[in-house]
């Protein structure tokens, strides 16, 4: 079953309850997410995005992953 933007947002929200999260995309395949969270301050982009990928629990993983195309932007607030 194709994943929805809402499901992606919910999964990210579980790991980042206070983050400002925007997920766009409605074709079930291509999404763009922006996550702004205080926990990102002091982390470089690789560390920030690793944390978001971890929240998506393997959904991004290869051919078996349901989520092939997620453009990700992460930053700390301010």
């Amino acid at each position: 079953m194709p994943i929805t933007a809402r499901e992606i947002e919910d999964m990210i929200r579980e790991s980042f309850p206070d983050a400002q999260i925007t997920v766009e995309g409605d074709d079930g395949v291509h999404f763009a997410a922006q996550v702004v969270d205080a926990s990102f301050s002091g982390m470089n982009r690789v560390q920030q995005q690793r944390a978001v990928y971890a929240a998506l629990k393997g959904k991004m993983d290869g051919s078996a992953g349901e989520l092939h195309a997620l453009a990700l932007t992460t930053k700390a607030p301010g």
């Binding site: 982009r45 995005q49 990928y53 993983d61 290869g62 992953g65 453009a71």
Partner: protein
Amino acid sequence: MSAEDQIKDTITANDVVLFMKGTKMMPQCGFSSRVAGVLNYMGVEFADVNVLADDGIRQGIKDFSDWPTIPQLYVKGEFVGGCDIITEMTLSGELDQLFTDNGVSFDKDAADKIREANA
């Protein structure tokens, strides 16, 4: 040789390596294409590794970097990021700085043109 050893050898032997789907001449995924396109346009000499040609490398590179997606860019043996990070770094000029710091030659005018076109 294990996938991990092959990966280590490749990123040690080449200053700039892009693990991608397809090749730099014929990318097979939009994200891989975008990063290869930036490097080609900037005239950066880089080694391309087609993960679609080797399942061991395809999984191995994800384990190696603890990063679930392809493409993955390495400079001087260090993982720099995937498509989104490279795009941001290109537009902010951080990629120029990274190449300069690591003695990787590139066409500054071309990099400026990318920024102008996306301003």
